[in-house]
Chain length 236, copies 2
């Protein structure tokens, strides 16, 4: 395969997959996202061409991948999380297919479950939630808040840190209880991880000033974290 | 840490994380799910105690983990996908916390995105879907089909293979178009992988006889797969 679209995982460099690391260590060209851990960028061979994706528009990233792929170089496109979860991997795959360049998809650990898990929140939990809805929250005014307020189970908002106040307002206006447990997790799984939890009606105030990127988790599963923490404290 | 709850990933053994493999190779006791790849079970040290989880009830699995953890053994609990996505990892974590046994969570690549990705379906795709809802479909009559039919974006049904006909009926009865693209993926990411796609109204007939476990994907993103396949064919 000439181009591999590889998920780097949620932040912690050891959460890349075995195959992802193998492709990375064998690449000749590495195109990487800004949020990918430095330790992973360092795993590419010393003489590999390193290209920071954030210097380019998406269409130019597509062109770069096609160009190096056509030249027969072993290209790794390293993306935060999973390439197909809010990662625009589908667009890159279509561009490569359109150009006739062979490519491979190497999934990664998505933040959907791994980031909440990192702070002790299971996105599904027997008797509490058997459903999880993940969505991109950055365009908060365009969200179908009525449908989100109505769907059972856990909500996970990507790119939700900067808009958590407005997100909470819109969900509460549409019928979700202001008492629903919520959490905001910044830089989940990394050594800069921060977490706050509060009822939905108070989460914006609690999370004020937290750095982005941040994930917002809303639902009764957030209370499992409190139960775990309490048990761990009483055991300590 | 004495007990590590480790996600094995969606099936392909190279999709375990680097940390997960490290824990597995250092364990003294391995408690594993039936669906975990044999290649991963073989990665445990030759003298490690291997326990197939399926011989036990969940409460007995919890007891086993607590018992070996209390004895200070390095225990790995290896689960398909991610421990906290329909994996009952939360229950095991609570049992360990309750017993005062230290534990660590090592996330895995969940089937949510990786299994659709394996057949070329991005669960999110710019301009097509910016939302994904994953749910356990086995108890199909108890699902809130009205909410599922109403939520925008992609639906991913775990344990959906055996009930796909009834699931499709209930979603269509609740207003989801019978023409919505759908796919059933059996043993995704493994060398036994099979996939069929059809409009929702015809998916049960198309998927008839497919082996379980199978994941059902419903939404316009399924059409991205057709676009990718067509481009690849025309390039070949």
């Amino acid at each position: 395969m000439s181009v591999a679209l590889v998920g780097a995982g949620p932040g912690d460099p050891e959460l890349i997959t075995v195959r992802g690391l193998k492709r990375l260590r064998a690449c000749e060209v590495l195109v990487y996202d800004r949020l990918v851990a430095d330790e992973l960028v360092d795993e590419a061979p010393a003489d590999a061409l390193r290209i920071a994706r954030d210097d380019f528009k998406q269409e130019d990233v597509n062109k770069l991948l096609v160009m190096h792929g056509r030249n027969g170089r072993r290209v790794v496109r390293l993306k935060g999380g999973d390439p197909f979860v809010f990662g625009r991997g589908g667009e890159e795959a279509l561009a490569l297919a359109d150009a006739g360049v062979p490519f491979e998809l190497v999934p990664g650990v998505s933040s959907i479950a791994a980031v909440p898990e990192s702070v002790g929140i299971p996105v599904t939990h027997r008797g509490v939630s058997s459903m999880v809805t993940a969505f991109a929250a950055n365009d908060v005014e365009k969200l179908d808040a009525a449908a989100l307020a109505r769907v059972p189970g856990t909500l996970v908002a990507f790119m939700g840190g900067a808009v958590v106040g407005r997100l909470a307002e819109r969900l509460i206006e549409n019928g979700l209880s202001a008492g629903t447990p919520a959490a905001v997790i910044s830089s989940g799984t990394t050594d800069r991880e921060q977490v706050v939890s509060a009822p939905l009606g108070a989460i914006a105030a609690a999370a004020h000033g937290m750095p982005t990127p941040a994930l917002v988790v809303i639902g009764e599963v957030v209370a499992v974290r409190e139960a775990l923490s309490a048990l761990r404290r009483s055991a300590a």
